[in-house]
């Protein structure tokens, strides 16, 4: 069936601000949706409240409304724009809930707007627990025994009937908010109270817990003609019990026989058909590790975080295809964007392994509860691709940017065996590292399996990594061993550590033995057909298949996983950087590892390398591509941190020089700069140990602001009022050292102003000044900002412009500079804080 003829314009609903459980993946999905519709000549109207997104860019939709996502506001937009259709299944749970509300309040009917894609009844069948249960029963799909409750008494009665453990899932929430597992009456009361509070309709499902079973997911697509395909399946490293957003996830499944794979695949098709979904859908199962028994545990009748992952893992653009289906196309009419010859109606064949590793915010919230359960805690994730599981896992660890370069946390070595045992029995963010540590202490795979229930297959793979560590430490590092280690994903840095050498020497050894990575394409079809996707991953194998061109080219470094302080805004900048390069007819190459983003869409740049952002991995790509230079300023702190080492290796850093970056980032050099320019600053010093911190604090007087040098988003930044607090901070929150100094500054309460400027080293353009409502000391990322400023006099603005201009010129900034000025009124004593990163445009 061709496109629905009556559609002239379509309203797309975005997903609003980033929250845990709903991050950049919906910018990616929404952007794809807008592009897919525009390709068909449809006028696209977008409503989203989050400005730090590509989808709200004027390039993407025809009309953009940055408005709150409430039925009232959307009704206003409908009134003004009068679209024929509305697409809500690509805006996460927010979009889906909005569709339900708009329909139920009669707004869609009033404006004669058709809900495109998955119909309302299908959404309800999947989201309403009772309807879902009935539907599953009608097609013979097993779901765990359950009941729906609206109060505690009913829950306790059910518990008395079927026993514990039980799981609580509130209706209509995202990321499992308010859910949890209860092992007794008391826990049930606690979890359920919270759950009912979070549920949009004050309803929760209580069901038998299948914690410990294998958790398997399928991404399924269906069109209106009832054609169905599964894009891929995924196996969670962590058994059922940990939210899939907090699980290490592997694609495709590794431990399922063909029988099991097909059994769950067939069930997924039955389910999507019974629900009547038109578009994408995610089905989650619990599979008994000891029989063919399984339960359907969740169905998301929309594009989800898993869909973004599945799209990047396979090269199959789910959101794009779902959008085409929504406007009337069938799967066999949609071209496979990867091969451009075959159709979207097929199932991708992978010839590599994909590992997704969550990124948690516990480095910033050091005292937060790190245990993982049914409520998602990760803020972001990384994905990695290799031809061995070990390789993909180690690449993922390197991509996380949590200060680790291998599956080892040095501090775990000081734990006793009992402590390791104890920590393993709880699930927390360090589980994979604890497993590796346990294996290093010769705990058996069977024992670890009995404690963690992680499949022996995965444990064996980690054991292989540990065994390789031992070999490297013990045996002479001959080329053959080196190659085997590289095939397992070992970075040069861990090899150097294990052999008491340094990275440069290992690299040299590798070069001499000609042990270099080769790059292979992600093509949806395991090389069966010729593909045109410029999407690559590294591996150590015989053949490299990248076709290097002799065009002018530049590499843009991405910003890695989303974490607090480094969100989707950097992806926005990277994507714009690529677009600008394209406009200048320069080939753009992106290196990044975040599967949720637009920058890792293979359509965005001329070539995409899905790689960790470490010196070794980036240098490998640079040596392959031989670009004119590398742009680091749009990749957040991730890329900035690489600038120095890359420059040292002879790579040209484009834009602001590495020296200038260092002058802005290094506290002492920065002090000297301000001194030279005669710009006032708060008293402070750089310290490398607790004793010096106390001396400094007492000298300048409390309260003081403390933070590690060279970090982003105020990670571990605190305002400290006493010696005791300072001592605690130095002990627990940071690990101060010669390499990682800590800044101690006088804290002054005042107004904070943020200035973003662009400079070419000669001229400086200041697009705007933003005034923060919160007092200085509240991190700018946590402040409400107002543009244009409301309370600043012209004299103050002139001073800000003068300071910013002189700084930019003296630093010879070629690109963006962000300065934060704080001032104490009325004395107009200027204080200064400055960061040097990409900026987020706020219109």
């Amino acid at each position: 069936m061709p496109k629905k003829k009556e559609l002239q314009s379509v309203l797309v609903i975005g997903s609003g601000p980033i929250v845990i459980g709903q991050a950049a993946e919906f910018d990616y999905a929404g952007t794809q949706a807008c592009q897919a519709l525009k390709e068909e000549g449809i006028r696209v109207i977008l409503v989203n409240s989050n400005p730090a997104t590509i989808m709200t860019d004027v390039h993407i939709a025809d009309r953009v409304y940055i408005e709150p996502l409430t039925p009232e506001f959307i009704a206003e937009v409908l009134e003004r724009e009068r679209p024929e259709g509305i697409l809500a299944t690509l805006g996460g749970q927010v979009g889906l809930n909005m569709a339900v509300q708009l329909a139920e309040q009669g707004i869609l009917e009033k404006y004669n707007v058709k809900l495109l894609g998955t119909p309302l009844e299908a959404i309800k069948k999947a989201e309403d627990r009772e309807l879902f249960k009935e539907t599953m029963q009608s097609i013979g799909q097993p779901i765990p025994e359950s009941t729906i409750v609206e109060d505690i008494d009913a829950a306790l009665q059910f518990a008395a009937e079927i026993g514990y453990p039980l799981i609580v899932r509130p209706a209509y929430t995202l990321g499992g908010t308010g859910g949890g597992i209860a092992a007794n009456d008391e826990e049930l009361r606690t979890v359920l109270n919270l759950g009912l509070k979070y549920s949009m309709i004050g309803q929760a499902l209580i069901e038998r817990s299948v914690a410990g079973w294998k958790e398997i997911e399928y991404e399924v697509i269906r069109d209106a003609a009832n054609n169905c395909i599964t894009v891929c399946n995924m196996e969670n490293f962590d058994p059922v019990g940990v939210h899939t957003g907090d699980s290490i996830v592997v694609a495709p499944s590794q431990t399922l026989t063909d029988h099991e794979y097909q059994m769950l695949r067939s069930a997924a098709l039955k389910i999507i058909r019974a629900l009547g979904i038109e578009g994408g859908c995610n089905v989650q199962y619990a599979l008994d590790p000891n029989s063919r028994k399984y339960y359907v545990i969740e169905v998301n009748p929309r594009v989800s975080r898993s869909s973004a992952l599945a799209s990047k893992a396979t090269g199959y653009p789910i959101a794009k295809v779902a959008s085409k289906i929504a406007i009337g196309y069938t799967l066999d009419e949609i071209t496979n964007a990867v091969t451009r010859k075959t159709k979207a109606c097929f199932e991708p064949a992978l010839d590599y392994v994909v590992v997704k590793f969550p990124r948690w915010p516990f480095d910033k919230f050091v005292f937060a509860d790190r245990t993982l359960g049914t409520q998602m805690k990760a803020t972001g994730e990384v994905m990695s691709i290799d031809r061995t599981f070990e390789g993909a896992l180690l690449k993922a660890v390197r991509s996380l940017e949590i200060g680790l370069h291998h599956l080892a946390i040095p501090e775990l070595a000081s734990l006793s065996n009992e402590e390791i045992h104890q920590r393993l029995s709880l699930v927390d963010d360090e589980r994979a590292f604890l497993i590796a540590e346990a294996l290093r202490r010769n705990m058996s795979i069977d024992e670890i399996h009995s404690i963690t229930l992680v499949d022996r297959f995965f444990l064996q793979k980690i054991a292989n990594i540990v065994a390789m560590e031992r070999r490297i430490a013990k045996e002479p590092v001959e080329p053959e061993l080196l190659l085997t280690a590289k095939k397992m994903g070992f970075g040069d840095r861990i090899i150097a550590e294990l052999t008491d050498s340094d990275m440069q020497s290992v690299r040299k050894l590798r070069m001499e033995a000609n042990i270099l990575p080769c790059y292979k394409m992600v093509d949806t079809c395991a090389a069966e057909f010729e593909a045109v996707t410029p999407y690559y991953y590294s591996t150590y194998a015989q053949e490299d298949e990248v076709q290097i061109t002799d065009r002018r080219k530049v590499i843009v470094l991405g910003s890695g996983p989303i974490r607090i302080g480094q969100g989707i805004e950097f992806d926005y900048c990277s994507v714009h950087s690529v677009w600008a390069l394209r406009a200048m007819d320069i080939e753009s190459v992106i290196i990044n590892n975040n599967p949720e983003t637009v920058s890792t869409d293979f359509d965005t740049s001329d070539r995409l390398y899905f790689e960790p952002l470490t010196v070794e991995d980036v240098l490998n790509v640079i040596e392959k591509e031989k670009p004119e230079g590398v742009i680091v300023q749009f990749g957040g702190q991730t890329a900035i941190n690489l600038a120095g080492p890359l420059a040292k290796a002879g790579v040209k850093i484009m834009g602001t020089s590495v020296e200038s970056i260092d002058r802005a980032e290094d506290r002492e050099k920065f002090d000297a700069l301000l001194e030279k320019l005669n710009i006032p600053r708060p008293k402070g010093a750089t310290v490398t140990n607790a004793a010096d911190a106390l001396i400094t604090a007492n000298k300048i007087g409390y309260p003081v602001v403390v933070r590690p040098s060279y970090v982003l988003g105020g990670r571990a930044m605190e305002i400290v009022y006493t010696d005791e607090d300072l001592d605690n901070y130095m002990k627990y929150a940071v690990k101060a050292s010669q390499e990682h100094p800590v800044l101690v500054d006088r804290y002054m309460q005042g107004t904070e102003v943020e200035v973003d400027a662009i400079s070419d080293g000669v001229d400086v353009l200041i697009p705007g000044i933003m005034e923060h409502i919160e007092r200085a000391g509240v991190h700018s990322g946590d402040s409400i900002a107002v543009y244009p400023p409301r309370t600043l006099s012209n004299a103050i603005i002139d001073t800000i412009v003068d300071y910013t201009t002189r700084l930019a010129i003296d630093l010879q900034v070629k690109g963006v500079i962000t300065c934060r000025w704080s001032m104490l009124l009325p004395k107009q004593q200027w204080e200064f804080l400055c960061a040097h990163r990409g900026m987020v445009p706020v219109y």
């Binding site: 499944s253 431990t255 297959f457 292979k520």
Partner: protein
């Protein structure tokens, strides 16, 4: 031991040999991500060296119940990573042990994607698996060995056997049948008599079956002229259902033609369109030859199914006689079981035959 796979075009791929058995055969690739044991024991791969594109093989071990025939007929197995420590509740053995016990030549640690890219570009070709030290002269001699023509004779059942139950009687011509086809027919309610490939039409008709099933099997359909002749004699006598080689034999029996595909269709993700409904099904496929659509003009057959990727014929139906066939594998194992409805259609035909 270090080994290599050398293709007829001279390309060489290095890896490790599991055993010291050498292999010569036609090198093909399969893109399925699961089902290595089913592939290994599918008789249609007789004489071929099979490359698996999925790089982690052996993860869930092996178990008797996944075997698709009495033994493996593949000439060699080419794998990226061979898993020695599998994990699954059903496993009885590891894949390396299984291969070693059966003396199936296997080279692992190979860049299987690189091999696939060569075959995709230059088409299916012969190759050898040998220790790394073996010289090109020996390899050339191996490659020059004449291909065995009648592979069907190697894989068919040596004698007649029955899978009895109350139900329509179906004679199964075993050209190299997969166990799951027999299971699917039996589960559909058929009373099965499985006969060797060289059984003549008279003998089959003397059994007075309600219908005849033509199985899958290895090689070029034109290499089994005897079977084509038998099918010709059965055409207007009984309802017939053919799968894979059986489908090709039906085309040849009515005077149609078959041809060799550049690199065949082997995998679990092949979309096929049912032309009568417009619906697309994901199918399991394993064929190196296809029926020539033009050759079927005026032969009584119409095309019912078509491959979405390259438009080749995937199914046909006689316009008058109760005969239909598909090129793909509705019985799955390995692969998706979206297509079991075809067995139901056969049951309906059997009813009409009475």
């Amino acid at each position: 031991m270090k080994g290599k796979l050398v293709l007829a075009d001279g390309s060489i791929f290095y890896g490790n040999l599991l055993t010291d058995t050498e292999a010569v055969g036609e090198v093909v690739f399969n893109t399925g991500m699961t089902g290595y044991q089913e592939i290994l024991t599918d008789p249609s791969y007789a004489g071929q060296i099979v490359t698996l594109t999925y790089p982690l093989i052996g993860n869930y071990g092996v178990a008797d119940l996944f075997d698709q025939s009495r033994r493996s007929y593949v000439r060699g197995f080419v794998i990226s990573e061979l898993c020695g420590e599998p994990s699954n509740w059903q496993m009885e053995n590891s894949l390396p042990a299984y291969l070693t016990e059966r003396n199936i030549p296997c080279i692992y640690g190979v860049d299987t994607r690189a091999i696939t890219r060569v075959i995709r570009s230059y088409g299916t070709m012969n190759g050898v698996i040998v220790p790394e030290t073996v010289g090109q002269e020996t390899i050339d001699r191996y490659l020059a060995l004449p291909a065995k023509l009648d592979v069907v004779a190697e894989v068919t059942t040596p004698e007649i056997y029955h899978m009895s139950q109350d139900g329509p009687r179906v004679v199964v011509m075993d050209l190299g049948i997969k166990r799951n086809i027999l299971n699917a027919l039996f589960q559909s309610g058929c009373n099965l008599t499985v006969v060797p490939a060289d059984t003549d039409a008279k003998t089959i008709l003397a059994m007075n079956p309600d219908g005849i099933f033509l199985s899958n099997g290895p090689g070029d359909p034109k290499d089994v002229p005897g079977s084509i002749e038998v099918v010709k004699q059965l055409l207007d006598k009984k309802p017939i259902f053919g799968i894979c080689l059986g489908h090709q034999l039906l085309a040849l029996a009515v005077g149609g033609d078959t041809y060799k595909l550049k690199f065949g269709h082997r995998g679990s993700n092949h979309p096929v369109k049912d032309l009568s409904t417009g619906r697309v099904y994901i199918t399991s496929q394993n064929h190196g030859y296809a029926v020539d659509e033009k050759s079927l003009t005026d032969k009584g057959f119409m095309i019912t199914h078509r491959a979405v990727n390259d438009d080749t014929v995937e199914g046909m139906k006689h316009s008058v006689l109760p005969i239909f066939s598909v090129q793909y594998h509705p019985e799955a194992s390995p692969g998706p079981d979206d297509n079991t409805y075809l067995f139901d259609e056969f049951m309906t035909l059997l009813g009409k035959g009475e």
